[in-house]
């Protein structure tokens, strides 16, 4: 069944405390190449049947209204993936 993937990231100007903690942990494991980490969220919305334009529009609206908070987050990607 097809899925619609929605990716949400903290806004660039919002300090991401979780990303900061992760970037601090990486060098302790020997991963020294990464100067910054930002942690976002990935949602997978399963659709029973075909993904129509109308369903995709619903996903975009849900992404703006519920899955993200526009004060602190951006919806950076909404796409259909077939299995």
């Amino acid at each position: 069944m097809p899925r619609i993937v929605v990716d949400v990231m903290p806004k660039p100007e919002i300090l991401d405390p979780q990303g900061k903690a992760i970037v601090g942990a990486l060098p302790r494991l020997g991963f020294t190449a990464f100067s910054q980490v930002r942690q976002g969220k990935r949602f997978e919305l399963t659709v029973d049947g075909e993904v129509t334009e109308e369903i995709l529009a619903q996903a975009r609206e849900a992404a703006e209204k519920l899955l993200s908070n526009p004060v602190i987050e951006d919806v950076v990607n909404v796409e259909v993936v077939a299995d």
């Binding site: 903290p10 919002i14 300090l15 405390p17 979780q18 903690a21 519920l66 908070n69 004060v71 602190i72």
Partner: protein
């Protein structure tokens, strides 16, 4: 049954008529923790506490509403994000924005629900140090003209309990400037910023002064023997303020 006595389980609505006749609703969501403490604080201030269920769409003729702290819906998605869409919240948002200007106080998770509902600007993210924090916290009353702060002196310092993980208040610079310029920062952290909140903001109000949100917990500082330093009752003023507001005695 006395005004402050309450059953261990079950409905906590006050059985008998209260002192002021004011009815103050306390909303319970799945995962709410502090509804019973909030109801107790309301009774100690002399009003009747009315239990409101998130799934209902009837405000039961309450005169004001407290949205208490806790972890509604387990803080899933974002703190307050799912609770915002409860039928009871739609009623509260409409009543707060109506001409009647229903007084609404959001505490901790309740504050997060108010920002997610767009009744208050900004949002909360994880504490800058990433830890859950529980301590006695000094706040300064920056605006004593709101429905929930009129019994404090302007600039008064009060000590109440702070306990949260997602307590870092954030908003864009323009919003923060406007909040400060319009006197809408109602409470600020004193001595130490416990979570990285912008401009040391602990609580804010809407333009009309009927909707107030704050991270620390006044309902845990209303009774000698149980509040900060085992004596503090500085939180009681929030609840006596709204009663004063309701009888028209606001400054």
């Amino acid at each position: 049954m006395s005004a402050t006595e309450l059953p261990l389980i079950g409905d906590y609505s006050t059985p008998a008529a209260a002192l002021s006749g004011a009815r103050i609703g306390v909303v319970t969501f799945p995962g709410t923790l502090d509804d019973r403490d909030a109801a107790r604080a309301i009774r100690m201030a002399g009003a009747e506490a009315v239990s409101l269920w998130h799934g209902d769409a009837d405000l039961s003729n309450v005169d004001a509403v407290v949205i208490p702290g806790g972890f509604s819906y387990g803080d899933y998605l974002r703190a307050g994000a799912i609770a915002r869409f409860a039928p009871m919240m739609s009623k509260i948002v409409d009543a707060a924005n109506s001409d009647a200007k229903l007084p609404v106080l959001g505490i901790c998770n309740g504050f997060q629900i108010l920002t997610e509902s767009h009744l208050l600007p900004g949002s909360m993210i994880k504490n800058d140090h990433l830890k859950f924090l529980c301590r006695d916290q000094v706040l300064r009353v920056e605006n004593n003209t709101t429905a929930w702060s009129n019994q404090y002196a302007q600039g008064e310092e009060i000590t109440i309990v702070l306990k949260n993980q997602d307590g870092q208040y954030v908003a864009d610079e323009k919003t923060l400037d406007a909040l400060e310029a319009e006197g809408r920062v109602a409470f600020s952290y004193v001595g130490w910023n416990p979570n990285g909140s912008r401009r040391n903001i602990a609580g804010i109000t809407n333009a009309a002064g009927n909707v107030v949100g704050l991270m620390p917990h006044p309902e845990h500082a209303v009774e000698a023997g149980f509040g900060p330093d085992h004596t503090g009752t500085d939180g009681l003023g929030f609840f006596t303020s709204v009663l004063t507001h309701l009888v028209g005695g606001q400054k």
